[in-house]
Amino acid sequence: MTGGRAALAGVYEYPLRVAPGVSALQIKAESAIRALTASGLRLADVDALYDAGEAMTGPGLAMPEYLGIRPALIDSTAVGGSSFEFHIAHAVDAIEAGRIRVALLTYGSTARSSKRSIGTEARLTSVPDPLRNMEDPYGLTTIGSYAMVAKRHMSEFGTTPEELAEIAVVARYHALRNPDAVAGLTAIGMDPVPLAAADVLSSRLISSPIRRLECCLITDGGGAVVLVAPELAADLDVAPVWVLGSATGVDYSEFGHSVLTTSAARSGPAAFAQAGVAPADIDIAMIYDSFTITVLTILEDLGFCAKGEGGAYVRDGRLRFDRPGGPALNTDGGGLSSTHPGMRGIFLLIEATRQLRGESTAQVPAARLAVAHGNGGRLGSRSAGGTVILGVN
């Protein structure tokens, strides 16, 4: 390809999964500085700031001051872990409209050091909104919501626990090649050893049918991504990674609408059509892996296989970086075995970029095309999804 709608420039992943004494804001700022420096850009070049508000309330007002910039465009879209794919989609539109030239996305979280139990909290509200007023009496957890999707998938399509476990097995296989992931697993008290499906299936039930090793880690972490207008791409200190397509969507459970269909069923085809490529062309699939079922349903909705066939599709290590027959899945080790500080969407963009620059620790030779699909909220309840198609010449 000769170019795209916008170019990813520098990206940076904060390496530590346990970072005591460091704040989420410090992680964001350090990541911003390092990603901009890698790009050959200055803080003052940033004219659009994207922030999901994970580190402070009212980020549209406070983040510019904290970073020390006065951007023309501020976007504080907050849709959980998919916020960063939404931010890319919005930034590409603003670049195409000629309104901005350098967009900065940052993320930082100390979920691990703050001892958050993200998956098993009820998150009750003191002033109820109508939706929560219907749900709070029953204590739905994040894991429970995704578990309802897994239960339905197994019941309707005969998907087996072994097939779902395969997604966690592949993630660990990739994580063990990633020194930051290995150090992170050790730091949070998990043995950095290969997983077999039997290990996953013998871990304890959290919310049936989801078991502990089908759940993402809870880590500290963060990162930054710089997106620039095409005319700046030639002057970067890094090889541009082009955004070829981007689209977003939301979804929620209601009568007559299966919990097995996610917003990826709309954002995926739209992004692929814009990019002019098909799932079969994709080398790298960075798919939000909060839980194994998240990956399975999104692979189906993106069109890698038909709805209901995800179980068969992921069998036999098909999605390992060193196997033919399918894209390489979550080659950094994923949220399941590398990092998940609460909102993983930015890491999907970062690892996809590393792959397309030949810099991954589970590198697919001559990787040209990647998809990053972020998922936010809770599948089974209400969720958002953003699909970004990336490519290099």
Binding site: M134, A147, M148
Partner: protein, 138 residues
């Protein structure tokens, strides 16, 4: 350390959903229907998303439904729900055409997508919380 609090109870005053819970206090499973296009509206709100009417009326369900999906929770940080583990929750497609999220009084082995359930009521003073119980398959 492990003080067990009660079940979190809904607000009876929240503008959209207060009427649902006030009906529940009388052991009625209530839902809305659009007076213009007859669409079922749930969860409760003030408008019909199908025809944009602002004229909705309350109906009472027979309280029978089919489980769309469910899960049994084994680990929870909240003291009340932790004391209830393992307990089952799910999405129930009610026969009149709306989907309720609620507790299902069934074990992990009993609770499956497709089973039929009927509403029952758990009393908490001036409010009742719907809990669905399995009914024998015909």
């Amino acid at each position: 350390m492990s003080e067990v609090t009660g079940r979190p109870l809904p607000s009876l005053e929240e503008p959209d959903t207060g009427p649902y819970w006030r009906a529940a206090a009388q052991r009625r499973l209530a839902y809305q229907r659009c007076t213009q296009c007859s669409a079922v509206v749930f969860p409760p709100r003030a408008h019909c998303a199908s025809c944009m009417s602002l004229e909705l009326e309350w109906q009472t369900s027979q309280g029978m439904g089919t489980v769309h999906t469910c899960t049994t929770t084994y680990q929870h940080t909240h003291p009340y729900f932790r004391s209830r583990c393992p307990y089952t929750i799910g999405l129930i497609d009610i026969d009149e055409g709306f989907r309720v999220f609620a507790e299902i009084a069934a074990t992990d082995a009993e609770a499956e997508p497709g089973i039929r359930v009927r509403v029952d009521w758990e009393e908490h003073g001036d409010v009742c919380v719907p809990v669905f119980v399995p009914v024998p398959q015909r």
